[in-house]
Symmetry: C2
Subunit: 421 residues, 2 copies
């Protein structure tokens, strides 16, 4: 007996008609798997509307009350979707995060799942029902309602699929799957049939908005195949799975652009143990994600560190870093804004050489200045000016022949390790 977890995002349940369409899709999918658990997000712009209401009564609402408020969005969706399934003759029951017992940490607005009790869901499946579970929400050990933050509903779905040992987690969304680049920016971008967890993780972090990295991490840890597909098309989408030998053939599987970045440069810091820890603890306390970290020794014997952050975090970062510099008794800060990051990702980089050279050549030929470079085993990222972003993405996409699905020829021998700054 197969078991499938299906997840529908907010745009896929934004109206009663769409909810009924989702219900039909669920019934069809269930016919193939025999048992189905559905995870659903809040309808359309519900979450934004609730946050607007909150802002009107309190510009700085407590995170506990924010979660109490936001959790209602998914509760509306599960009730309506269960009703829609019932109206189509399919037995169904809605369950809140609390009712399933999706236990989380007590970090309101960004809680992490600690455990899922599958007893109740399995009992409903055994009764022949479709279990419709609220995404994005959970409950602490003492009964407080929490939400999981960005990518929360995807995370709920993949975590449930893991806990239930589902055959697959189908993520129904408003795009056809994962593309070699954002098709709104690169018209000849191609849909990928398969991608590995590692590649998807890199792409998610680097700016591909299809799946949030937390959900992909869950899938990777518990080996849950994730199928990203369009909610109103029957075509297969993209399967996110463990890497398989044929994946290695492609040196680059996709590229991504992330915009609205700023670069924080700290110069002339003391060159002694504990300096990094002080900086990154301060960033963690302010709940700021940073990337593209580059550290090197300055000519005068001090140390330089720079990293990128999203524009929206700049207001918090300045005071946090000023306090750290005051603590050091030395150092200077400068901030550049209006930056973007263009990246290429592919498992094949581990074996193919020349990927970095090809990327830099493509950018150079397009006359684009590279401000910073960072790499991992399976990605290369370049920080560029925002005005160059779209052109950079297109150049790189074209250089690696991503549109036609054949691995790009790599004929130079620059080992990519040498790129590390």
């Amino acid at each position: 007996m197969g078991l499938c977890v299906l997840k529908f995002g907010g745009t896929s349940v934004a109206s009663p008609d769409l909810i009924l369409a989702a219900a039909r899709r669920i019934i069809d999918t269930r016919a193939a798997f025999s048992r189905a658990v559905v995870v659903v997000s809040a309808m359309g712009h519900t979450t934004d509307q609730l946050l607007e209401l909150a802002d009107a009564v309190n510009p700085h609402p407590s995170r506990r009350e924010t979660d109490m408020l936001l959790a209602t969005g998914e509760q509306v969706s599960i009730a309506l979707l269960a009703m829609a399934l019932q109206s189509l003759g399919a037995p169904a029951i809605s369950l809140t995060g609390q009712q399933v017992a999706i236990r989380t940490t007590s970090s309101f607005t960004r809680a992490r799942i600690r455990s899922i009790d599958t007893t109740g869901i399995m009992a409903e499946l055994d009764r022949g029902r479709i279990a419709v579970v609220a995404g994005f929400q959970g409950v602490t050990d003492d009964g407080q309602i929490t939400t999981l933050g960005r990518g929360g509903s995807d995370t709920t779905a993949v975590a449930l699929a893991a806990a239930l040992a589902a055959d697959v987690c189908e993520i129904f969304t408003d795009v056809d799957g994962v593309y070699t680049a954002d098709p709104r920016l690169v018209p000849d971008a191609r849909k990928l049939d398969r991608i590995s967890y590692d590649e998807m993780l890199e792409l998610a972090v680097l700016g591909a908005g299809v799946m949030h990295s937390r959900a992909v991490q869950f899938g990777q840890r518990y080996n849950v195949p994730i199928h990203v597909r369009h909610s109103r098309k029957s075509d297969a989408g993209t399967l996110i799975t463990r890497e398989s030998p044929e994946m290695e053939n492609a040196s680059v599987v996709g590229c991504a652009l992330k915009e609205n970045l700023g670069r924080v440069s700290l110069r002339d810091l003391p060159n002694r143990p504990g300096v990094d820890a002080a900086i990154f603890n301060a960033l963690a306390e302010a709940d700021i994600n940073v990337d593209d970290i580059i550290q090197n020794e300055a000519s005068g014997g001090g140390m330089n560190i720079s990293f990128t952050v999203e524009h929206r975090d700049l207001a918090d970062i300045k005071p946090a870093m000023e306090r750290v510099l005051t603590g050091f008794g030395r150092g200077e800060m400068s901030i550049d804004v209006g930056l973007s990051r263009v990246s290429v990702v592919g498992l094949g980089m581990r074996h193919h050489t020349g990927v970095a050279a090809k990327m830099f050549t493509a950018l150079a030929e397009a006359g684009i200045n590279i401000l910073n470079i960072t790499t991992s085993e399976i990605k290369i990222s370049c920080i560029i000016n925002r005005s160059d972003g779209e052109r950079a993405l297109k150049s790189v996409h074209s250089a690696f022949d991503l549109a036609d699905g054949q691995p790009a020829a790599i004929d130079t021998i620059t080992p990519m390790r040498s790129v590390r700054a």
Copy 2:
């Protein structure tokens, strides 16, 4: 240390501004009592909007899923009200029916409260917080979300006040209090300073919409003083309490009009035990409330029964009664529509005589035909044609001098018991 339970209805929290106004009111009231528990309904027309969404996906949604859906309305309100209180500097915490542990029966959409665990609320009050509790909702022993049906939030408030042994339950609403008649229909209707539970119960059942009878019954059973008042005026409203000697002075304390009634007449029924039981069990199974029941022997030895129902129940009543008549093997049914009920209520009727005669005289002088009469110890109701309704209410209100607050002179000696049909 005093404790006050405050309840705000949907119209009193229909917008962020109104929520902030309610929050200020709560803070002021709490200053007088030192401890405050707030019960709140869903904002404005939220419940209707949710029911519209439900109807669009399933014209006959399951009652369990309806409760799952509707309970979100109050959850939004408690979160926003807690945020508003916090923004005004008052420590507050929102609690769902589940979190308080308001245990109910499992009759979805019309559950009854079985118990309330006050431990959690008392702990929050001890921490100096205002507890903001979702009205209208509860939870079954196995964790299902239920709602209490009509008058649910009032019932939550009064039940909480009883469980917490509060000094008073203040019901903030969009009217000034309980009036001698609906002031929209009778311009010189007068606000009552006090009314007994019994009188308020009769008025609530008879059509005065201020308080639902369930909440008043709770108040009476646990002797909770209920103060009905305007949410945006500081004037005292109407206190619903145990009867006191001075209340007996008024033969009639108020009058009420209920419209859109139909009268079901069953004639020539078998005259044997079990006939009433069969009829009223069938009505209970169809969840139909009836009133003004009159039963008498027909001239041919059979039995006649008639009763009134609301128009909206007529569609369900016809098939139910037809099945009952088929079971009897005899009997006829006829239904009159377009009726109203005008009633007068007052504890003083128990001691004063002539109340019925005065009422009938007033209606006769206004040329209004009385179709049926029913009485209790403290009320007299007349079924009339709907077109006579407003005029009947005004005539009766005037006959008992309700506008000037002095007990009406009763000078006839017709004992009201003789009115019983």
